[in-house]
């Protein structure tokens, strides 16, 4: 998965960066799950984006939170659509930390999300749309499967 440089970097520190606490904090590696050009290219290259900021007061990202990611040398915004950490009853937990890239107005960069996304995201996205100026419900429209 990793290119040799990254591999060396990780091995030399012998510290895994974010799997232990399973929280989305700064420098957590995320997985882009939409079919946006930049996202696909980054995942193919084996350089998954890192979270460089979480737009919440605690600095810890939970499901539906907005994050700023560093992807292929660019800064992009994204929405967390699936987490690895333990969730409440009836909210699914995923095997990877998934993110969907959006622009400033809330429009997704891709046209399709190829993993399932949780039902609870509908409520969260609708709620966020009201409070902010951006419209996040477009993200729900490009989802292929809800669980």
């Amino acid at each position: 998965m990793f290119v040799p440089g990254t591999l060396f970097n990780v091995v030399s520190r012998s510290v895994s960066t974010s799997t232990v606490c399973n929280q989305i904090i700064k420098l957590t590696r995320l997985r882009v799950v939409d079919n946006s050009e930049i996202g696909k290219a980054a995942m193919m290259e084996g350089k998954p984006p890192r979270c460089i900021h979480v737009y919440s007061k605690t600095g810890v990202g939970y499901i539906g939170d907005r994050v700023l990611v560093a992807i292929k040398g660019e800064k992009k915004k994204g929405i967390l659509v699936g987490l690895k950490q333990r969730q409440n009853a009836k909210v699914p937990r995923f095997d990877s930390n998934n993110v969907v890239l959006i622009d400033d107005s809330g429009t997704p960069l891709g046209t399709r999300i190829h993993v399932p996304i949780p039902h609870i995201l509908r409520t969260i996205m609708r709620k966020n749309t009201h409070s902010k100026g951006a419209d996040y419900t477009k993200l729900l429209a490009i989802a292929t499967k809800f669980v």
Binding site: V33, K90, P92, D95, V115, K145
Partner: protein, 308 residues
């Protein structure tokens, strides 16, 4: 021994007798509902054994495996007879509304539930039960499946009233009590189709699936070499991790008789608990069986018509 008899004077004996009298709980005077779990067992004149019939009857002996959540937490700091009784009554009331099938870790379940985030839709999740935990109304289970190439796990409360239906699609056990290692196994081992149908029951006893699963290469979510797993093909780790696992192993723990005692509910208490709920559970089981037979008959008929 001589010393013992010399020192054992009249006074200590009197103190002992007094302590014994004080230690007796005057339960008979209270209008509390009497429950044997509450009672202090007196050293000298303990009560006679519970009736032998219950111990011998095979159906009650099986109940602890089928309905483990009816047994309370063995920690004496949390025990209370009345609370356990009320909790059991609530559980039975819920079970009479929703039929909860018999299932084990390793069985494949389908859960239909109503979701406030998706109103007016049928939400159904199918998956393998990889964990069963909690007791009483807190009991819950964890289902795992792979959807669109992504591993998904959902946690459900067994007595949640928003659950509309629970079906056991394939009733079987695995070699381990928890299957959390499926997270680090290839995805095909936890992939189950959403349109699976209920499999016909072949034998009376619960089949044990003795499949051995290979694990993905490192890194893993947990140090599986330390868990003494039976359902996993040989675990390959480096020497350092092997040594550490060997150092942390506790092979003497299985001989610790009091540890096992403090982790379990004794048989006499189990019989009291299950004889309390036996009649109602039995009724529910009979109803369930009738419904199941009907369903099977319908399926057979429909399959015949299809083949014709």
């Amino acid at each position: 021994m001589t010393m013992v008899s010399r020192l054992w004077c009249q006074k200590t004996w009197q103190n002992l007798a007094l302590a014994k009298v004080l230690g007796k709980e005057p339960k008979t005077f209270s209008t509390l509902v009497q429950l044997k779990t509450d009672e202090a067992i007196d050293d000298n004149d303990s009560q006679a054994q519970t009736n032998d019939e219950l111990i011998k009857s095979p159906s009650l002996g099986n109940y602890r495996l089928v309905y483990p959540e009816f047994l309370p937490d063995p920690n004496p700091l949390f025990r209370n007879g009345i609370r356990e009784k009320l909790e059991r009554m609530d559980m039975l009331n819920r079970r009479s509304v929703l039929s909860i099938p018999e299932f084990y870790v390793g069985s494949i379940l389908a859960v239909t539930y109503s979701d406030p985030h998706a109103v007016g839709k049928i939400n159904k999740f199918v998956g393998i039960c990889i964990l069963r935990e909690g007791c009483g109304l807190r009991s819950s289970f964890l289902l795992r499946n792979v959807v669109n190439g992504e591993g998904v796990e959902v946690h459900y409360d067994l007595y949640d009233p928003a659950i509309q239906k629970i079906d056991c699609l394939r009733l079987e056990k695995r070699l381990d009590d928890e299957l959390l290692y499926l997270r680090d196994a290839p995805l095909e081992y936890s992939t189950f189709p959403f349109d699976m149908e209920i499999e016909a029951k072949i034998s009376e006893s619960i089949p044990v699936n003795d499949i051995k699963i290979p694990l993905n290469p490192l890194p893993w979510s947990q140090r599986w070499e330390r868990y003494n797993l039976k359902g996993v093909k040989e675990i390959v780790v480096n020497e350092r991790r092997q040594k550490k696992a060997a150092a942390l192993a506790k092979p003497w723990e299985k001989y610790d008789l009091m540890k096992t005692y403090r982790e379990t509910i004794p048989e006499e208490e189990q019989n009291e608990i299950f004889s309390d709920v036996y009649t109602k559970l039995n009724e529910l089981e009979i109803q369930k069986n009738i419904l199941k037979r009907k369903y099977m008959l319908q399926r057979q008929k429909s399959s015949k018509t299809r083949t014709l």
